[in-house]
């Protein structure tokens, strides 16, 4: 199937200031695609290029196979969008804003908007001026979902949401996944991307650092395993197992702590040769894999 989003050598300079540089990526239909990077990395620039709010300095971006500068309206019809820098019409009520955007989209049925608002626990009858930051963010989500778009482009969608509502938001994204719709989601929060995305692109300083499946990243993630034995075990035997990065021992080698990249299988099999009192596993931390990517990109740059 043709990709929903495809960019090729996409570059944007604001005068002499770099926005993004030579960004090439593809998002397949049905994917929940996380776009991860620190603030100022170029996430919003990329998203605003996809929606034709700004024009590329060079390179190409296509959404649904349509070049963004050729027919942005055809793209907008099928996309729901949550902006990164959120501003709303303060004098409207939530419902008035939903009605306005529904009219612009020629959507008569507000069932979906009301359903999402209910899921996020948002009172649409209140005037937007009185909304908290979290409520504004919820309203942004409601208007993005209201026409059940094939593609959701969400720029830092969960910022300002409290943890409970964040779970509701993740639930909405899971629904979208089940329905085979696509989500392109930018975030600087790693656990969030880890929780909801299938695939992640890491952007830094305007350039793509890595694109990988979350599962792939997790495989590269370093697990920490604590093994407690009744008798001493030889740390060097464990240190020699492929994938084991580091071993430390305590209590006369009766407690070994191992840092393992990828599968722990070989370590468990070696441990089984001893009498194991206890085994403590710390889940592979994507953050470490992420930082490893960053460290690599950093050293490459130097």
């Amino acid at each position: 199937m043709a990709p929903v989003i495809r960019t090729s050598g996409l570059t944007k300079y604001y005068g002499r200031t770099r926005g993004i540089e030579d960004l090439t990526l593809e998002v397949e239909p049905g994917q929940i695609f996380g776009f991860l990077g620190p603030n100022g990395a170029g996430k919003s620039t990329t998203i605003r290029l996809l929606l034709d709010f700004i024009r590329p300095t060079s390179g190409l971006a296509e959404v649904f196979g349509i070049p963004t500068t050729a027919d942005p309206i055809a793209i907008h019809r099928r996309v729901g969008y949550v902006p990164g820098e959120l501003a709303l019409y303060d004098t409207m009520t939530g419902l008035e804003l939903v009605r306005y955007f529904a009219s612009l989209r020629r959507v008569k049925d507000l069932t979906e908007a009301r359903r999402v608002a209910a899921a996020l626990d948002l009172d649409l009858s209140r005037v937007i001026r009185s909304y908290s930051g979290g409520n504004r963010q919820k309203l942004a989500l409601v208007q993005a979902f209201l026409h059940r778009p094939e593609l959701l482009i969400l720029d830092e969608p969960s910022s300002g949401l409290d943890p409970l509502i964040q779970q509701e938001f993740y639930g909405l994204v899971d629904e979208v996944r089940r329905e085979g719709r696509t989500v392109f989601l930018s975030s600087h929060i790693l656990p969030e991307v880890e929780r909801i995305a299938d695939r992640v692109a890491i952007i830094r300083g305007g350039s793509l650092v890595a694109v990988a499946a979350i599962a792939e990243l997790k495989a590269k993630a370093v697990h920490r395993l604590e093994l407690h034995f009744t008798t001493s075990a030889d740390p060097t035997t464990f240190g020699a197992i492929p994938g084991v990065r580091q071993v430390s021992s305590a209590d006369e080698d009766r407690v070994l702590t191992l840092w393992i990249e990828g599968s722990v299988d070989a370590v468990i099999k070696e441990a089984a040769r001893h009498e194991v009192v206890n085994l403590v596993s710390h889940e592979g931390d994507l953050e470490e894999a992420f930082l490893a990517f960053y460290a690599k990109a950093g050293s490459d740059a130097q």
Binding site: Y14, S44, R48, L51, F53, I54, R55, I73, A74, H76, R77, V79, Y81, P83, E85, L86, A87, L88, Y89, T91, M92, E96, R99, Y100, F101, S103, L104, R105, A140, Q143
Partner: protein
């Protein structure tokens, strides 16, 4: 109610518009009500005004002092050649600024444009709303002048009042569409207000004062005020010069549509 950019632009004005209308009615009513008093003392006033420098008369829409001392001349100088038109102009500028530059200034343009609405339509519908509400302001002037004319014996004609009111709309839209255009080209709200208001003031004075200096007289023709006031529509009715204003407005709106389409939306 909120069914289009056009409707929403009007909806945005639902509170503030009343005050523009009140201001417009007030200046019209005060002017007309003052006319009988002025007429009674016309000899004294005529003497006074003949001693004024020529430029002062020009500034307020009369080339001869005697023009002030006719009902239509007086109404023209107060309503169409100065205060009334200024109200209409600044209202149109505020709408022209809000349309694009104001929306970007508030940061809501991204959200609006994510809907399947072409940028050119955002510009066009905002101009439509500006034209409608400005026309309603002038219509208030038109109605109140024609209603009060027989009471205070001002001596206005329906044709003249209609022509001058339409002229007021065109004059206001000339500056309102300038604001729309600058906003669409730059997205910069303070700059837009500055250019549109500055141009209004500057061209008002150029129109009044340029004719006093022979070598600068041609500059008068660069001002929208000239194309409305020079032929005094309140007395003379519709004249083809008004088409110059129509042309200027159409060009400004077209440039606005083109300019907004081709640039980056500011954050």
């Amino acid at each position: 109610m909120l069914s289009s950019v056009f409707a929403k632009t009007i909806w945005d004005r639902r509170r503030g518009y009343v005050w523009w209308a009140v201001g417009m009615l007030a200046i019209t009513a005060v002017t007309v009500a003052f006319w009988p008093t002025l007429q009674a003392d016309s000899d004294v006033l005529l003497q006074l005004m003949e001693n004024l420098p020529e430029g002062m008369l020009n500034l307020f829409g009369a080339s001869e002092a005697i023009e002030f001392l006719t009902g239509p001349g007086f109404v023209n100088s107060r309503v169409f050649a100065s205060v009334g038109s200024f109200i209409a102009i600044f209202f149109a500028i505020s709408m022209g600024t809000a349309a694009v530059a104001g929306e970007e200034d508030r940061g809501t343009m991204d959200l609006l444009l994510a809907n399947p609405v072409p940028r050119s339509r955002v510009v066009l519908e905002a101009f439509g709303a500006q034209a409608l509400l400005t026309t309603l302001l002038a219509a208030l002037v038109w109605i109140s002048l024609l209603v009060t004319d027989p009471i205070f014996d001002v001596g206005l004609s329906i044709a003249g009042t209609t022509a001058a009111s339409v002229g007021m709309v065109l004059l206001a839209l000339a500056f309102g569409s300038l604001a729309l255009m600058v906003g669409a080209l730059t997205g910069n709200r303070p700059l837009t207000v500055g250019i549109a208001a500055g141009t209004t003031i500057a061209t008002f004075f150029i129109n009044g004062l340029a004719p006093l200096v022979d070598s600068l007289a041609w500059m008068q023709r660069l001002t929208p005020f000239y194309w409305l006031l020079d032929h005094n529509p309140l007395v003379n009715g519709f004249q083809p010069q008004l088409l110059v204003l129509v042309g200027a407005i159409l060009i400004a709106v077209a440039v606005a549509m083109w300019g907004f389409q081709r640039r980056d939306v500011t954050v």
